[in-house]
Symmetry: C2
Subunit: 419 residues, 2 copies
């Protein structure tokens, strides 16, 4: 066995062992640890920022993109945000130990479903160092051991954040082995980790599509995946058009680079002529490039034609495709065909249309009269998120502490035997 | 593309399309279909039994084992049991459309978690033809499309059961493509199915370990696995020893060939000398071979010594390993080390011991004062089961209609935008 394999195996085995203790730790201990970790981040700000500086310098020397360096960079505000997120996770209800339901069988058995941790969660992520704190916080809250593997470009930042958090956790009574960071930047470490299905219960890749595809392709452990976000808003013929303009503008412009931003606007043909001119004018003023269907281009001149490819493109940029549709049916059909099933919305004052849209759109989060941008663990009230699942299996949408759990059946008998 | 690949792809695409309709069908339609399917089985008994005869004859010609032929064989009673199981599935509450929880955010958004079907469920199973009816029933109840692939030895039985069920379902308003049987016995059909992750959402292998390992190894689709059942009962020092004898006897002897039968008996050393002599006598009278630890063999003479291998062996037979332990701690430790985490029990009248056992034993179903044999979808009140999961991911323990579901978030706004 190679030295690397031995190291990764030792981490995984230690994490599994610690997970048996983690599952039994009281909420008060976990929450105290989370608060100590938040304080630790703020107290050790200088140390973390100096480690981060090394990573930034190396990234600049490697001539990495400005947007990459922006994501990598920590500052006072971002460290405070990391600490606040840990405090929010401390404040949410502990999912572990919840009796989800309990019922009585005709033979008198009580059968209950008790929420328990998954065990060991592996997170493989790219350059954002704040992911380190979010993932450790959510794993701890949900009673799981965590094994983190961050991007090599953030290695100094991650080691420094990890050291601060692990120290605070250990001092608060969290067992050794519960929180782990893989320090080597050798890619083989990830390949080894993905085979250790006896010790690791879940793998969460966070990052670009190629990382996710590689992890999902190699893993012998269940993976929670998050692919692209091609999100839609449908402006119904019964929409409040002022509200529609506000919601659509927010969904496209407030932060275009994220997965829950709108990429395609669908408009009922009954209101297209009234709605589109001022809406598109406002988008253009904000620097948004519009790519329209033929009907859109008759209503508003001088815009690019959308091609078939546009309907399935995640721009992550100030670009928007616009299509005029006949009615709700055509909107739902378009969405169920082209959406990546992450976040889609309708704007309408019509009760029937709202219910039909909620029922029939097959996406992780379906909205009436709100921006698609709310699909986020923090916005949903989970304190933070470890990722957003576009799978239907196990967890869908924002993944918080509750989604990092399993259950066991507890059965209370009085001597029942099976006939 | 090969003809076979074209065929399997067409089935999978058709199933996906039908699943969009299936997710919207009202409970009353699904339950009417389930009852019509049950009646259909009973009305077409002769036709099914005659197809089954062909399979039995072929199996006998191939000189397959008696136990294999026993599992393959249908009769009046077994057809009635299949029909009754469909009626029980009709009687349970529809999981689809349930709002699991709903909450209000500080900005006024209502966020609800709505239960929805997974989509398309593939089941790959071996020779028991009753699995065909159970799986179709549970998939239909949970609004999923089903693709079944049974063992080649039961092909005539399966085609005949499928034809009866599909006909009854179609006449009751279930869409074409919702229920599918792969008729070819070519193994490549399974290999192709396991790659179609764009159309199939879950694969459930039911059968021996080699089938499960092969499916899990090849599948690009999430798999719910059920490996071995090494189940324990711990007789605590505060047990009612009469109850303990009844429960242990039932767990070992009532049906030794199944996964939830007891394989290892653990006894507190404080009661071993009082409990074991009469318990082992009763087991021996029932033909059970005992393999004991050194202490057990001091208490009861003339029994075989258990080896290290015995503690992790699933006998599926009238064999039982017995170990005397110091206390609850040692029992829990032994179970968490050797159990396959399916079904483990304690017999005790001590409150503290019962709670500690329920908390600390890391198994899918943990019992106080009841036989491990109750780990079963029917016994849990699910109407039937499509399998028993020894995974922690997505579903654990008996898998009924509710476990074949996912959820989506439905969000009710009044124009909220993200700041």
């Amino acid at each position: 066995m190679s030295g690397l394999k031995k190291d990764i195996l030792a981490i995984a085995k230690g994490a599994k062992e610690a997970s048996l203790i983690m599952g039994q730790i009281h909420s008060s201990v976990k929450d105290k640890a989370l608060l100590a970790m938040a304080d630790g981040l703020e107290r050790n700000k200088a140390r973390i920022l100096s480690a981060n500086k090394k990573d930034i310098l190396a990234a600049k020397n490697k001539k990495l993109k400005a947007s990459f360096i922006e994501r990598l960079t920590l500052n006072d505000k971002r460290i405070k945000a990391m600490a606040d997120s840990l405090r929010q996770v401390a404040a949410i209800r502990d999912p572990i130990g919840e009796i989800i339901k309990i019922w009585t069988r005709p033979n008198g058995l009580w059968i209950g479903k008790l929420r328990v941790p998954l065990g060991v969660v592996g997170v493989i992520y790219e350059s954002r160092p704040n992911v380190t704190a979010d993932c450790i916080g959510l794993c701890l809250k949900s009673g799981n051991s965590a094994i983190l593997r961050g991007g090599s470009e953030a290695i100094n930042s991650n080691i420094s954040i990890y050291a601060v958090l692990n120290e605070a956790a250990r001092r608060s009574g969290i067992p050794e082995g519960a929180i782990n960071l893989i320090r080597t930047t050798d890619r083989k470490a990830v390949h080894i980790l993905l085979t250790l299905s006896d010790y690791v219960d879940l793998i969460i890749p966070r990052g670009g599509e190629s990382l996710i595809k590689e992890v999902a392709g190699r893993s012998r452990i269940p993976v929670l995946k998050h692919y692209k976000g091609v999100c839609h808003i449908y402006v119904d013929e019964d929409a409040d058009l002022n509200m529609a303009e506000r919601v659509c503008f927010n969904a496209k412009v407030q932060r275009p680079s994220v997965c829950n931003a709108m990429e395609t606007l669908l408009v009922s043909r009954d209101v297209a002529a009234r709605f589109l001119p001022s809406m598109i004018k406002r988008f253009k003023e904000a620097g948004v490039e519009i790519r329209g269907c033929p009907v859109t281009r008759k209503i508003v001149r001088d815009i690019k034609a959308a091609t078939e490819k546009d309907w399935s493109t995640e721009y992550l940029d100030l670009i928007l495709s616009v299509k005029v549709v006949k009615d709700l049916d055509e909107a739902v059909e378009h969405i169920n065909r082209y959406s990546t099933k992450l976040s889609d919305a309708i704007v309408t004052e019509n009760y029937h249309a709202s219910v039909e849209f909620l029922r029939r759109v097959d996406s992780a989060a379906v909205y009436v009269n709100a921006s698609t941008r709310f699909t986020d663990g923090g916005e949903f009230g989970f304190g933070a998120e470890i990722g957003i699942s576009t799978d239907k299996f196990h967890a869908r949408g924002p993944v918080g502490a509750e989604e990092l759990t399993s259950y066991k059946y507890i059965v209370f008998g009085s001597g029942q035997i099976r006939e």
